[in-house]
Subunit: 149 residues, 6 copies
């Protein structure tokens, strides 16, 4: 779906939440295969059983990618993704955990191009216990509303 | 492979480079499937042909995940990944581009736990023309070398 | 997204169109792998070159499944999918074709449970030349609007 | 394997049964990824636990595609798949269920081209309790046996 | 399909050929992901262009696994796969090559259990130019025909 | 990583061991899909429950391919893989088993090209109980150390 929105139309503090998705063993297998990251934390259940967390954990890049993917659906042609700040892996995600994503408009910042500004949204990936497992700030370069003449 | 290294053993400015990997149409299909991000920029060749870049582009999270995965291989049990700062999508990656990853030790910072410090490494994903397509700073909490008694 | 809608709220003749998606060689490889259908029409390029269509064609169940998947996004908790009628494979889909899906409300029918009715929607999967490649009728059992007291 | 058979050589009432296949969590993950259908019925175990069926259910298009794929193996160059009628999702398929497919020759019908006819086969996908979970009629346009001169 | 056959019923020199299958870039991507073998010979098109073969080559284990998989379809409950001898990688397989598999009964050998013997079949994987790309000998422990009393 | 080594530099009896990897249901599903081998031993849990081993077993080609993949990481440009001898499937691998691979230099043999020789390494894939599940001999054609002048 396409929804056009200018920078000024984002309300600081407004937040939205996605539906949920369960992280499966298959997701970890596929992500190891896509990235080549076969660290034992993700693919060796026997070794993990000897570690503090006792079981395999999902790759940080898997949960981050899935979480960002879950926020898609609505395209705003007035914005262009610029990057992420303060991406933090706060808690491990285990096989069978169910994640949802909350996106909150945090602030807007000026941009060197006066017709545009930077939209900063806090993206929080939550598990089934409402604990934040990953947080980051998503930066989008957005058009400002043209002055009406 | 396991190589134990304390914070003090990382030399500022030292860098290492991975082998290369070609980003394929299959990678994009698999990443769309893993994340649920089916935005037309990634999966609709016909629409892309009408856009400035003329062709499908790889998901930012795909290239980031693959790039981070390419840096794996050596585990240092003295460190724990903390997160990423300043993750920036600088240039698009197209089907058939070949990426490599350069990691450079940027700086070390104090940590609230005196026995540890923060290692900051600049991670740059390059394409076949040596252009940086993604850059970010990887933060790792590392043990300091114990004082010899 | 959840949008509650009763049977009476569907307008006969109303139609909606999805974004597009390019069917890739990787999709065919994955679908052969998921279903076990390795017929040479789908996986043997050499043999296909000797046939009238000259190239590999996507599985009918692949294009049908992808097309139905493309129509998802909005859930209506007042309806439950009942089945499909008149599923027809009208034109072959080749690697590189881009499909979109048009859904048109065709009719409503009574249901043995008086509080419900059957919604019939025509689902047409189109290629990049606006040719219908697959058509079918989707049947959904929908709640009728409760009489206001 | 190739077995040539004309329309007249199909015996009404004859049926054949495939071997079995267990539907796994990985199948659902892969099908969600192939189709983009991430409805919570299929991918959110936490939400499903609050619903009448208590657990994730396989996509209808997954079980249909796998079932049709299971019937492949023998190619009859005298026939061409035309479509499906009365495709019905009768019972949910859960992770761990094992399906088999029974195909029964139901009837033959005339075709506008006199040298051909329509073969109608009832396709029933059964679970491990011999319950039909999906049923449909498969229509194939078949050559009639040429009159011997 | 199940076909029961005793050791004596295999005729030395008899051979059978499978249908064909095109090895795709997606197959290589999936096999790299399944095995973790991301050697540049398979995944770095830029580096391969500097090598004698000029292009990516399929993993030996990919072509071997696909070839063995292509010979499946008929199960003989009287035999049990024992292993492979003289597995040789004779020619590279490139993206787009189409392989078929020829299996020839080579010999039978005694087994320490007198009621059984070893069946040796030559398995040859051919490309579209009828060149053998992989050859091996498949060993199966087979029941001998029980003496009729 | 690239490590150049001549035939003479391999020490008979030297061995190395990989990290571990758990074989998952998803691996079996993906391997069935890649190879087309949907034998009930691998994909029909219900039938397997009636057999001596009681559960699904991993494809021999899956465990072999994964095991070989686990030994990758270091490339020696002085050697070229020639093939495998005495590949034996010794014990079944079940879903959830964790495998590691031990490679032992077994012997060197002359080669028709005097500047080269054949390196024979014993490859043993072990499960979590240190049982060898697959063994084979890997043959590599290696350059001999050039005589110093």
């Amino acid at each position: 779906m396409i929804i056009e929105k200018y920078l000024e139309e984002y309300e600081i503090g407004a937040s939205r939440m996605t539906a949920g998705r369960t992280i499966t063993e298959a997701d970890i297998v596929l992500h190891a295969g896509q990235t080549g990251d076969f660290y034992p934390h993700h693919v060796d259940a026997q070794w993990c059983a000897t570690q503090p967390f006792k079981q395999r954990i999902a790759h940080g890049t898997l949960v981050f990618s899935v979480g960002i993917g879950m926020t898609t659906g609505v395209m705003n042609p007035r914005g262009m993704s610029y990057g992420y700040d303060r991406l933090r892996f706060i808690k491990p995600v285990f096989i069978g955990d169910t994640v949802r994503v909350r996106t909150t408009v945090k602030e807007t910042r000026p941009h060197k191009t006066p017709s545009h500004g930077m939209l900063v949204e806090l993206v929080e990936i939550l598990n089934q216990n409402d604990q934040v497992v990953i947080a980051c700030e998503h930066l989008t370069i957005m058009e400002r509303k043209p002055a009406e003449s």
